[in-house]
C-alpha cells in the first residue's frame, strides 16, 4: 500500500483534486478551511491511498486545523507528498513547498488552477522549476479534469519505484546553517533520529514552530531545548523566512515566461465591484439570503413538499392501512405503523425538498467563492462584538447543522474567539428546525412564509451576536483578533460539486429519519398510547398528556395553551426534527394539511411566533451537546450551553408573548 499525502495552501483545489483522484468524495468549497480533519481515499483500481490534509499556509500552525498537518508529518511518514499549489499565486505557495521539500520525503508539485495563470498572461518553465526545487513539477486543473491522467500515473506506482529524494538544502546564513547542522548531528547521534528528519526538526524548531517545539519538549530533545534562547535572541526565524523568500523569488524569476498577452477576463473584479461594495455589500449579503429562503420556501421547496405530502398521506397511508388489515395486524400495530411511523417519519421526510434547496444554495455560495466576501462585508459588525468576519462562516455552516458549524470554528485563530464561536453556534437555526417552522408558518402566516422564517434566522444571528459580545466582556478577551482573509477567484459553480455538497449535507438528514427520528417517533407513540392504566384509546389519558399537563403552567406565560407541543418539545432534544413528527403523532393527524389546521386552531399568530422563537433557541440536540463537549474539552461548557440556552429561549419567548399581548 502506497500512501500519498495531499498538502498545500488553503483554497488551491486540493479537495477537488482529491475527489477527482479517488472514489470517495470529500466536501469542497471555495473558501479557506473546508477540510478541518484529514480525509482518506483510494485511487481507483490501485493500491494507492490518498490522504487529504487541511490547507495550511505554513507548517507552523496558527489554528487548530492547521496543526493537524504538522502532527501528521511528525507522526507518519507518507511514501509520497503531492504538494498542490495555486499556479497564479506560486510565490507564497512555494513557501510551504520549501518546508515540505526540506523534509526529504519524495514530493511532486502540481501547479493547479493552471487556467487562471494562463489567463493572467504568463507561464512558468516547468523544467527550470523542477531543477531548482529538485522534484517533479506538473500542471493540472482539477475543476476541468486537466492533467489528472498524468498525475494519477505518477501516484499509482509501487513503493519501490518512488525515488528517494534528497532534501532541499537552502543557503541559509552561516550562523543558522551551523546551528541546524549541530542540532541535527546530536539528534542523530544521541537520539537515533533519522538524519533527514533530524535536519528538518532542527530547522522547524529554530523557525519557532509551536508544534515542533512541543514535540521536542515531550521527547526531551536536549540539543534543541538547550539552544532555544539563543535561536530566538538571534532572530533566526526571520532570517530563515528571508532566505526562503529570496530563494523563491530567484527561482520564479528564472522560470517565468511571458505569454502572448491573452484577453484578460476580469470576471472576479467585475463581480467584486458589486458584491464587496463598501455600502451595498451588506444589503446584498442580506438580499442573497432572502433569495435563498424565497427559493426554499416559496418558489421551489414548498410546492414539491406539498405534493409529496399529498402522496404520503393519501395513497400511501391508505394502502398501508388496507394491507395491514388484510394480513391481520392488530389495531395497535396498525396505529403504530400508520399514525406513528408513516405520519411521523414521513412527515419529516416530506421536508427534503426545502432542505435540499437550501443546502444547494449554500453549496453554490461556497463553491463560487462568495463566502470569503461574506466574511469581509460582515467583519465591521463582528469587530464590534469582538469577533471577526471569519467567525461568520462557521455560523453560516451552522445553518446546515450546528455540529459541522462548531467543527468549522477550528479555523479561527484565537482560542477565546473559537470558544465564543462554539458557544454561540447552537443559536444558528439548523436545518433540523426547518420542518417545524414550515408547519407553523403554513398554518398562521400563509402569505409571509419566507419572511417569517428569515426573521427567525436573523433573530438567531442577533441572539448569537449579543451573546458573543456578552462572552467577550465576560472572558475579558484582550487578544487581538487575527483577520486576514483571502479573496479567491470566482468560479462558475460546477453542477456536480454543488450536488455533492448538497448531498453531503443533506444525506445526514435522510439517515437521521431512519434512526433517531424513527426512534423518537416510536417513543412519542408509546407515550401517547399508554397511560397509567396501560393501553389507552383516549390520548388525554396518556403519559404524554400527563407530562405535558404537568408542565403546562410553566409554558403558559409564553403562550402555549395545549399540552401537545410541550411533549413534542421534550422529544426534540433527541433531534430537532422529532418535534414535527411528534406533533403529527400527538395531534393524531395523518397528513400535513390536517395538522396545519389543528395548529391554526390552537395557536394565535403571536403565540406561534413565541413558540418558534423558543424552538429556535432552546436546548441544543444531543449531537451538538456532544460536539461542544469534545471541542471545548469540558463537560462544563456543554452543561452551561444547555442551561443558558434554556434560560435565553424562555426569557425571549416570554418577552415576545407578553409584550405582544399588551400591544394587541
Amino acid at each position: 500500500m502506497t500512501t500519498v499525502a495531499l498538502l498545500g495552501n488553503p483554497n488551491t483545489g486540493k479537495t477537488t483534486l482529491f475527489n477527482e483522484l479517488t472514489d470517495k468524495y470529500a466536501y469542497v468549497g471555495n473558501w479557506t478551511g473546508v477540510t478541518v480533519e484529514k480525509k482518506v481515499g483510494q485511487i481507483r483500481h490501485s493500491h494507492t491511498q490518498v490522504i487529504d490534509l487541511p490547507g495550511v499556509y505554513s507548517l507552523n500552525p496558527i489554528t487548530k486545523d492547521e496543526s493537524v498537518v504538522t502532527n501528521y508529518l511528525l507522526q507518519n511518514s507518507p511514501d509520497l507528498i503531492l504538494n498542490v499549489t495555486n499556479a497564479s499565486q506560486l510565490k507564497r505557495n512555494l513557501l510551504l513547498s520549501v518546508e515540505v521539500l526540506e523534509l526529504g520525503v519524495p514530493v511532486i508539485i502540481t501547479l493547479n488552477m493552471i487556467d487562471d495563470l494562463k489567463r493572467s498572461g504568463h507561464f512558468y518553465d516547468l523544467k527550470t522549476l523542477s531543477d531548482k526545487l529538485g522534484c517533479p513539477v506538473r500542471t493540472s486543473n482539477a475543476r476541468n479534469k486537466e492533467g489528472l491522467t498524468q498525475l494519477k500515473a505518477d501516484l499509482v506506482c509501487d513503493q519501490s519505484e518512488i525515488q528517494p529524494d534528497s532534501p532541499l538544502k537552502l543557503a541559509y546564513p552561516m550562523m543558522v546553517k551551523q546551528a541546524i547542522r549541530q542540532a541535527a548531528e546530536s539528534l542523530t547521534n544521541d537520539y537515533k533520529i533519522d538524519n533527514k528528519f533530524a535536519h528538518w526538526l532542527a530547522i522547524q524548531y529554530i523557525n519557532n514552530n509551536k508544534v515542533v517545539r512541543k514535540y521536542a519538549l515531550k521527547h526531551q530533545l536536549k540539543p534543541l531545548l538547550s539552544q532555544k534562547a539563543y535561536y530566538d535572541a538571534q532572530k533566526f526565524a526571520d532570517q530563515i523566512f528571508e532566505t526562503r523568500l529570496s530563494f523563491i523569488e530567484a527561482t520564479l524569476s528564472a522560470a517565468t515566461e511571458q505569454l502572448q498577452s491573452t484577453k484578460h477576463v476580469a470576471l472576479t473584479s467585475k463581480i467584486d465591484k458589486v458584491v464587496t461594495h463598501p455600502i451595498f455589500g451588506l444589503p446584498i449579503f442580506v438580499g442573497i439570503f432572502y433569495l435563498m429562503f424565497k427559493l426554499s420556501f416559496d418558489w421551489v421547496g414548498t410546492p414539491i413538499s406539498t405534493q409529496l405530502d399529498k402522496l404520503l398521506s393519501g395513497p400511501i397511508s391508505h394502502w398501508a392501512n388496507q394491507f395491514l388489515t388484510q394480513v391481520g395486524a392488530l389495531p395497535m400495530l396498525r396505529s403504530l405503523i400508520v399514525n406513528g411511523l408513516i405520519a411521523g417519519v414521513g412527515g419529516v421526510l416530506v421536508f427534503i425538498p426545502q432542505i435540499f434547496v437550501l443546502f444547494a444554495c449554500i453549496s453554490i455560495l461556497e463553491d463560487s467563492g462568495y463566502m470569503a466576501r461574506a466574511a469581509l462585508v460582515t467583519d465591521r459588525i463582528m469587530e464590534m462584538i469582538g469577533l471577526n468576519g471569519k467567525a461568520f462562516i462557521p455560523l453560516i455552516i451552522g445553518f446546515g447543522c450546528n455540529v459541522t458549524g462548531i467543527m468549522a470554528a477550528r479555523t479561527i485563530e484565537q482560542p477565546k474567539e473559537r470558544l465564543i464561536t462554539t458557544l454561540i453556534s447552537p443559536f444558528m437555526s439548523c436545518s433540523a428546525r426547518l420542518p417545524i417552522y414550515s408547519l407553523f408558518v403554513a398554518a398562521l402566516f400563509p402569505r409571509h412564509q419566507a419572511l417569517i422564517v428569515l426573521s427567525l434566522y436573523f433573530l438567531g444571528i442577533v441572539v448569537a451576536l449579543l451573546m458573543a459580545k456578552f462572552y467577550h466582556v465576560m472572558f475579558k478577551a484582550k487578544e487581538h483578533s487575527v483577520f486576514i482573509v483571502e479573496l479567491p477567484q470566482y468560479h462558475i459553480p460546477r453542477l456536480d460539486i454543488v450536488w455533492h455538497g448538497t448531498w453531503d449535507k443533506g444525506k445526514g438528514f435522510i439517515k437521521k429519519a431512519g434512526t433517531i427520528i424513527f426512534a423518537g417517533t416510536v417513543l412519542i407513540w408509546l407515550l401517547s398510547n399508554f397511560g397509567t392504566r396501560g393501553y389507552v384509546t383516549q390520548i388525554d389519558q396518556s403519559f404524554a398528556a400527563n407530562l405535558g399537563k404537568v408542565l403546562l403552567p410553566v409554558f403558559k406565560p409564553i403562550g402555549i395553551s395545549t399540552w401537545q407541543p410541550i411533549s413534542a418539545l421534550l422529544t426534540g432534544v433527541l433531534a430537532k426534527e422529532v418535534i414535527s413528527s411528534s406533533m403529527m403523532v400527538l395531534f393524531h393527524t395523518s397528513n400535513q394539511g390536517a395538522l396545519i389546521a389543528m395548529i391554526g386552531g390552537s395557536f394565535t399568530a403571536l403565540s406561534a411566533y413565541a413558540l418558534l422563537v423558543f424552538i429556535l433557541l432552546y436546548i441544543p440536540c444531543f449531537a451538538t451537546i456532544g460536539t461542544i463537549k469534545s471541542e471545548t474539552g469540558s463537560a462544563k461548557w456543554a452543561a452551561y450551553s444547555v442551561v443558558s440556552s434554556l434560560f435565553i429561549s424562555y426569557s425571549l419567548a416570554f418577552l415576545i408573548f407578553q409584550i405582544g399581548s399588551l400591544l394587541t
Binding site: R92, L95, L245, G281, I484, E486, L487
Partner: protein, 68 residues
C-alpha cells in the same frame, strides 16, 4: 486605487505577522489598496495578483500610518 509599500511589521502580534509572511508579504512589498470599508472597516489589498482582506489597523501599521 492607491499604491503603498509595506514599511514595517512592528506592533503587529505574532500570529498576524506570521500569516502575512505566509502570504508572501515582507518589508518592501508593493501593495495596492483596492477598497476601504466605511467606519474604519476592513481594507482589501492586492499583492502579487491576490486579493486579501485585512483590518484597517493592520493596514495602517504595515504602511507606517500614512493611510488616507
Amino acid at each position: 486605487m492607491k499604491h503603498f509599500m509595506i514599511k514595517q511589521f512592528n506592533g503587529l502580534d505574532y500570529a498576524t505577522t506570521q500569516r502575512l509572511h505566509s502570504l508572501g508579504l515582507q518589508v518592501g512589498s508593493e501593495i495596492l489598496a483596492v477598497r476601504f470599508y466605511p467606519f474604519h472597516g476592513p481594507v482589501i489589498i492586492q499583492a502579487d495578483h491576490q486579493r486579501i482582506g485585512i483590518r484597517y489597523q493592520v493596514f495602517q501599521q504595515l504602511t507606517g500610518g500614512d493611510a488616507s
